[in-house]
């Protein structure tokens, strides 16, 4: 039964189909076969299902389920909160009406206060060439990287803590479950509940990145690109050109710019090279004899030039380097 049917589509083609490596032409061939008889479709998809079942034994890890559960309960909480907030708002509206009513009747001509939060004075902080550290009205600590602007009110409102940021900033947010901390930037907004994270969102670069170190944050694209909740060690990347918001694992090494050092945790040579590339604007080329399996953990102090940093790296990792223009060649020490 099966052997006959399947031989019409040769083995290699089906293997390619299972591995999702078919070209358009090959897909057409398969589709044509599927059109010919119902059994063909049934058998191919049955095979496909078993193929993937065999591979999926490790897909549903405990961790993945936990994360999914967290995400689900956040959604459910929001559902419940929405219902609660609508109820709360309705109550206030009712009182406002009574309030206004009373004053009009008594004719005292008071100013009617708006019920929404009156915006306080905004403080804008701009850095040019250095990292600036500051403390917000609630005790949250922020470090601003070069060319970054942060705007925040003198006093946070009753219900939330809103700030606006352009550039790159590192936040250590004071925990307050009643008042979510929301960072708005050009491309995305991040909603926090007491946590440590890094946010880079610039008008000039098409990629905005929120990296989470501790706690939990919710990242939302400002133009309906979607929303993601991050766990520590993850980062959300929003590509303004493709309008896609994705989650990736964080690279170690970058987020300690506010301490003027790089922090590496089990980083391989690729990660270290990438970090240096990003920080010094150079291109690093690795020779094939470099040990790519070894990982390193430690702190590397930031220096003014990449050459100085490489000299420090040489103390720990057996490499030789050669700088040609903005390219750096790294090879194994003989």
């Amino acid at each position: 039964m099966t052997k006959e049917v399947m031989n019409k589509l040769d083995d290699e083609l089906i293997a390619k189909f299972l591995r999702e490596e078919c070209s358009e032409e090959e897909l057409r061939k398969i589709n044509a076969q599927l059109d010919e008889a119902d059994e063909n479709a049934h058998e191919l998809f049955e095979l496909e299902q078993i193929y993937h079942l065999g591979r999926s034994v490790e897909l549903a890890t405990e961790e993945k389920i936990k994360r999914a559960e967290k995400r689900l309960f956040n959604s459910l909480n929001r559902e419940e909160k929405k219902r609660y907030e609508v109820r709360k708002l309705n109550v206030w509206m009712r009182y406002a009406a009574i309030f206004i009513g009373v004053f009009l009747i008594s004719g005292l001509g008071y100013h009617i206060y708006q019920l929404q939060d009156v915006p306080e004075d905004l403080v804008a902080v701009v850095t040019t060439d250095e990292v600036k550290e500051l403390m917000l009205p609630d005790g949250t600590k922020v470090w601003l990287n070069k060319n970054t602007t942060l705007k925040y009110p003198r006093e946070f409102s009753e219900s939330r803590r809103n700030v606006y940021m352009e550039g790159e900033a590192y936040f250590e947010v004071k925990r307050d479950t009643e008042k979510p901390f929301i960072v708005r930037s050009e491309a995305m907004q991040v909603r926090v509940l007491g946590t440590v994270f890094n946010l880079k969102s610039d008008k000039r670069t098409p990629l905005a990145v929120a990296s989470l170190l501790k706690g939990e944050i919710e990242v939302k694209g400002n133009h309906d690109e979607g929303m993601i909740i991050l766990s520590p060690g993850q980062k959300a990347e929003l590509n303004a050109t493709t309008r896609r918001l994705v989650v990736k694992m964080m690279d170690t090494g970058i987020e300690n710019w506010h301490n003027n050092q790089f922090l590496f945790e089990k980083a391989d040579i690729f990660t270290i090279a990438r970090t240096l590339e990003n920080s010094y604007g150079v291109k690093i080329i690795l020779a094939p004899d470099i040990d790519s399996a070894k990982t390193y953990t430690g702190v590397l102090k930031k220096k003014n030039t990449v050459e100085e940093v490489l000299n420090s790296v040489k103390n720990v990792i057996p490499i030789e380097y050669k700088i040609v223009g903005t390219s750096v060649f790294l090879s194994s020490k003989k």
Binding site: A15, A41, L47, Y51, R55, L59, A60, I65, L76, E79
Partner: protein
């Protein structure tokens, strides 16, 4: 599932704590399998959203949905319906995507949740365990080669390079692995073996 026995007695006040507990248990029991099911139909990227939506929907309807033996059918059907919707609304931007969409349409027919076999296979933990065991019982080098190919999608030549062996040795190991697996798992792996030799 014990939930079944309580299904008939509804009284929100007393039941609500139990309902939350049951809801959590359902999530743990079905999430991974529903995710697999959704992934087969709409692909990895959109599968999680589909399953999350279904569980949110289940929560919204927790007072009206019967948490009995039929809950499995409800969940799979809910995922199926949403997945069908996702496919319907996908933009087809090239001729490649067009033929892919044709195949997706046929595939989702196969994945109709009322078809017993499809869901049974996913819910059958024994099946997956047997597959995993059989693979792990392969002789060492053979197992490594097979796992790199099957679980990590590596090409034979990349496996050869990574393991520092010749391409021919890799192919020999693959052939050996499939022969052994075929013997162990008869029908199911017979189908797999025939088509993985490429």
């Amino acid at each position: 599932m014990q939930a079944g026995s309580n299904a008939g007695q509804y009284n929100n006040g007393i039941m609500s704590e139990n309902l939350d507990h049951i809801y959590k248990l359902l999530f743990h029991k079905y999430y991974a399998n529903l995710l697999f099911y959704a992934t087969r139909i709409v692909g990895e990227e959109e599968a999680e959203d589909v399953v999350q939506d279904v569980f949110v929907e289940l929560w919204r309807r927790k007072d009206t949905v019967q948490m009995g033996e039929q809950i499995q059918a409800f969940l799979y059907r809910a995922v199926y319906t949403r997945a069908l919707n996702v496919l319907k609304h996908r933009d087809v931007k090239s001729s490649y995507e067009a033929v892919l969409a044709e195949i997706h349409k046929k595939r989702i027919e196969f994945y109709q949740p009322d078809s017993n076999d499809v869901v049974k296979r996913i819910e059958d933990r024994e099946l997956r365990k047997r597959l995993a065991e059989a693979i792990n019982e392969l002789p060492d080098k053979c197992k490594m080669v097979f796992k790199l190919s099957y679980l990590h999608d590596m090409k034979n030549k990349d496996i050869a390079e990574t393991m520092g062996i010749s391409l021919r040795t890799v192919e020999a190991h693959m052939y050996k692995a499939l022969k052994i697996l075929r013997g162990k798992l008869e029908y199911l792996l017979l189908m797999l073996a025939l088509f993985l030799l490429g």
